[in-house]
Amino acid sequence: MPSENQSVSSKMFRRIINVQQWGIIIVLILLVIILGISSPVFLSARNIRNILQQVSTLGILSMGMTILMISGGIDLSVGSSISVVAVIVGKLLKAGFPVGYPIIIGLIIGCAIGMINGLLASNTRAHPFILTLGTMTLFQGVAIIITEGYPITDLGDKFEWIGGATIGKVPFIVILFFAVMFICFFVLKYTRLGRKGYAIGGNEYTTYLAGINVRLHKIIFYVICGFLTGLASLVLSSRISSAIPTMGAGFELQSIGAVVIGGTPLTGGRGSVWGTLTGVLLLGIIANGLNLLHVEASWQYVVTGAVIIFAVILHEHRAQ
C-alpha cells in the first residue's frame, strides 16, 4: 500500500517540478504572443533580428557570468570592466594601431581583470560580492581617468565591422553570441572544467577534499568571465562606434539578473546556459516590446525589476 501510494505521488511531484522549470519559458511565450498581437512590427523578421542584435552584448556577458555563478562566484565589476576595456581599445585604435592588436589586447585586459577578481576571491575570506563591488568602483574610476571623462568616438570602419557585419542575413554578433553559448554549454556539460565548476559551487570544501585544486579553478572561472566581458565590450563599442567611460554601467546587474532568471542560484552548484538564454531573451524582449508600445523608459525599469523578482520567487518555490 505505501509503495503504491508513493509512486503515484512521486509522479505528481515530477510533473509539478517540470511545470515550474518551464515557468520562465511559458512567461516568455506569453509575452511574445501578447506583444505580437499588440504590435504589428514585433514579430517581423527585422525586429527579431533587432532584438537578437540588442541582446548579444548582454548574452555574451551573461554566459561568462553563468559559468562563474555556477561555480559559486559572482562578479559585480563586469560593467565597469566593459568600460575599461572599451576605453583602452578606443585609445589604441585612435593611436592608429592596426585593428587586430587593440582587439587582442582588449581580450587580454578582460582576462587580466578576471584574474585580479579571481585572485582576490580565492585568496581572501571576504565574499566575492563585496570584493567585486570594490573592484567595480575601482575600474570605473580607472576608465574615467584614462579618458579624462570624455567619450572616444569614431573608432573606424574596420572596427565597426564587428558590430555591423552580417553573414547571410544574420548579424555577425548574433552568430558570435550563439557560438559563445554553445561553447559554454559544451564546457559545462562535457569537460572536466565544467564538472569541477558545478562541484565547487555545490560544495567547495567537499571538492577540496576530493583532491581538486579549488583555488586555481576559482581563478580560472573568473578569468573566463573576464575574457567574455572583454568580448562583450568589443561588441558593444563596435556597435556604437565609440568608447564611453561609463558605457558598461548597469550591465552587471542586468547580467546577474539574466542568470538568476535562468535558474542559477546565487549560491551556485546548479544552472545552465539555456536558462540564462531565456533570461537574456526575456530582458531583451521586455525592453524591445515596451519600446514598440511607446512605454516610457522609466517604466521599463519597473517591469524588468518585477520580472526578476517574480522569477526568483518561482525558482525559490521550486527549490523547496
Partner: protein, 500 residues
C-alpha cells in the same frame, strides 16, 4: 477518556510537493510518560515533531492538548502551550551565563530595569538543584560541554512550565556517562509529571528509558506498544519491515603494514601518535569528545598539518604533500558530517561518485559521459545504492544511501586506506548494517580502514584493534576479542569504570 492524555494526535497527514510523508498518524501521550518514536531515516519522525513544535503546518488531522483542540500551531504558540523541543543543535545564547539562559525573558529586574543578579542566580540554582544538576549558574554557556548545555535546555524548559518535552536524538553526541545523567534527568521530569517524546535510533536507549514506543515506517504508523511487551527483534522488524541478516564476513590473514604513523604530533593538539595499519584491517579510535580523535585522523589523512613525525604509506612518506597527491597515493578521508562536507548535495549520484576520479572518466579535458555512466552503474549495483537513477541529486537520497555514495566516490578512485569519521552516525539501523557490510567487504579486498566512532558497540564489533585516545595521546591499543567495553572506556576516561 480524553483527559487521561495530555496530548492526542488523530489522523495527522503531511505532504511535501505531492509526496505524502505522513499518513493518518495517530499518537498520544500520557502525563509523566516517555513515549519513544522510532523509525528509519525518512520514516516521518522529524516531520511529526516539526508539526508538533509548530515548524510545519499539518495538512489534515486533529491535535488535542489536554483534551482541547489545538489548531493553528506556530512555534510561539507551541511553546506557550508548554511544548518544548530540544533539538540536536543547542538553542541557547552561548555568551550568557547558565542562569540568564534558564530565566531568559523572565529575568528578575528592579527599578529602571536593572537586573537583580543575586536573585537571578539564586533562582537558577534552585531550578538546577531541583533537577539534581550540579552546574554553576554563573558559568558561561559556551564553556560547557554539549551534554551540560543540553541539561541547561531541559532546566530552561522546566522553568517555562513545559508539559511536553520533545527530544530529537538527544544522545547523539553524548558519552556513556553523559547519557546516564540525561536519563536520570528524564526520570526527574517524569516525576514532575512532564511527558517526554523521545526520538532515537539507538534501540538500547529506548528499552532503558521509554514507557511506550511507536514505530513509523514510510510515513505510516506501523506499531505501538508498551515497551515491556516487546523486544529488540520485534522493534527492528517493525522498523525495517523485513528481517535483517546480521552475518559479517570474517576476516583472515592480516600481515603487511600498509600505513604507518610514526611519532606524529601537532603542538597543543595531539602528541606522539604511533599507529600501524595492516592490510585488511579495521582499526577503531575511541575517546571522549575533546580527546583529539578527529584531529588526529584528519591529520593522518593529510588534511590538517602535522608539526612532527612521519606518515608512511607503502614505504613512501606522505607528510607535506598536497591533498591531491595524497589522494593519488591512496588515502582518503570520509568525514563525519555527510551533508556539510561529505557530499555535493545539488550534484547527482554519478557526479558525486566520480568527482575524485575525473581523470578516470575523461580523455584530456573532455568527459566521457557514457563511460562515467557505466562505471557509476557498477558501483550503484555493488553497493546497492537506492536511487531513481544515477542522475538523481544526492540530496533526495536517504542518509544510508548518501553514506554509500560517499564510499563509492573513494572506491571509484581506487583508494587503499579509508579514514572514516563516524561512518554510521545518523543513519538508520538497516543502512548501518549495510555500511558495516561494505566496510568488511573493503577489508576483504585488502583495503584498510581507520575509523573514529563514539559508538562503542560499533568499535567493538567492527574493529580488529581499538586505539584509545585521551588528552591528545593514544593511551593504549587493545585487541578487540580480548578486551571489553569497560576496559576501553576506562582508558578513555582515565579511571576505572567500576569505581564510578
Amino acid at each position: 477518556m480524553k483527559n487521561e492524555h495530555i496530548l492526542q494526535i488523530k489522523n495527522v497527514s503531511k505532504s511535501f510537493s505531492g509526496v505524502k510523508v505522513l499518513n493518518d498518524i495517530a499518537f498520544d501521550l500520557r502525563p509523566g510518560e516517555v513515549h519513544a518514536i522510532v523509525g528509519e531515516n525518512g520514516a516521518g519522525k522529524s516531520t511529526l515533531i516539526k508539526i508538533l513544535s509548530g515548524a510545519y503546518e499539518r495538512d489534515g488531522g486533529k491535535i488535542f492538548l489536554g483534551g482541547v483542540t489545538f489548531d493553528v500551531i506556530t512555534p510561539r504558540r507551541a511553546q506557550d502551550a508548554g511544548i518544548v523541543t530540544i533539538y540536536q543543535e543547542r538553542n541557547l545564547v552561548p555568551n550568557l551565563s547558565v542562569g540568564e539562559n534558564i530565566l531568559i525573558g523572565n529575568e528578575p529586574k528592579g527599578p529602571f530595569g536593572i537586573m537583580k543578579w543575586k536573585e537571578l542566580f539564586r533562582k537558577a540554582e534552585e531550578i538546577l538543584k531541583n533537577l539534581h544538576l550540579r552546574l554553576n549558574p554563573q558559568a558561561i554557556v559556551s564553556s560547557l560541554s554539549s551534554a551540560e548545555q543540553q541539561a541547561v535546555e531541559i532546566a530552561k524548559a522546566l522553568y517555562k512550565k513545559a508539559r511536553i518535552v520533545i527530544m530529537d536524538e538527544p544522545t547523539a553526541s553524548l558519552t556513556r556517562a553523559e547519557i546516564d545523567n540525561l536519563f536520570s534527568l528524564i526520570v526527574q521530569l517524569k516525576k514532575k509529571g512532564v511527558s517526554v517524546i523521545y526520538i532515537s535510533h539507538r534501540l538500547d536507549e529506548i528499552f532503558r528509558i521509554a514507557d511506550r514506543v511507536s514505530v513509523l515506517r514510510d510515513g505510516f504508523k506501523v506499531m505501538e506498544s508498551d515497551i515491556k511487551d516487546i523486544n529488540k527483534n520485534i522493534l527492528v522488524k517493525a522498523m525495517v519491515g523485513e528481517e535483517l541478516t546480521l552475518t559479517y564476513v570474517e576476516n583472515e590473514g592480516i600481515t603487511d603494514v600498509l600505513f604507518e604513523a610514526r611519532g606524529v604530533s601537532r603542538t597543543g593538539v595531539f602528541e606522539d601518535i604511533h599507529l600501524k595499519l595492516h592490510r585488511g584491517e579495521i582499526v577503531g579510535i575511541a575517546g571522549m569528545v575533546g580527546s583529539g580523535r578527529t584531529e588526529v585522523v584528519r591529520a593522518l589523512a593529510g588534511i590538517d598539518r602535522i608539526d612532527e613525525g612521519k606518515l608512511i604509506l607503502n614505504g613512501r612518506e606522505i607528510q607535506g604533500k598536497s591533498l591531491e597527491e595524497i589522494i593519488k597515493m591512496g588515502i582518503c578521508f570520509v568525514p563525519e558530517n555527510r551533508d556539510e562536507v561529505g557530499l555535493i548535495s545539488a550534484m547527482s549520484v554519478a557526479g558525486n561518485t566520480t568527482i575524485a576520479s575525473l581523470p578516470k572518466i575523461s580523455r584530456g579535458p573532455l568527459l566521457k559521459l557514457k563511460h562515467e555512466n557505466e562505471l557509476v552503474e557498477t558501483f550503484v549495483k555493488t553497493l546497492a545504492i537506492q536511487a531513481k537513477s544515477i542522475r538523481q541529486e544526492v540530496r533526495y537520497l536517504s542518509g544510508g544511501n548518501r553514506q554509500k555514495v560517499m564510499v563509492a566516490k573513494w572506491l571509484c578512485r581506487g583508494i587503499e586506506v579509508f579514514i572514516m569519521d563516524e561512518p554510521t552516525q545518523g543513519v538508520d539501523v538497516g543502512a548501518r548494517e549495510e555500511i558495516h557490510r561494505i566496510m568488511k567487504h573493503l577489508t576483504n579486498e585488502g583495503k584498510t580502514i581507520l575509523m573514529v566512532s563514539t559508538d562503542l558497540d560499533e568499535l567493538m564489533n567492527m574493529s580488529h584493534r581499538v586505539a584509545v585516545m585521551r588528552g591528545g595521546r593514544v593511551v593504549n591499543i587493545l585487541n578487540t576479542p580480548e578486551t571489553t567495553r569497560e576496559e576501553v572506556l576506562s582508558f578513555a576516561i582515565g579511571k576505572s569504570v567500576s569505581q564510578q
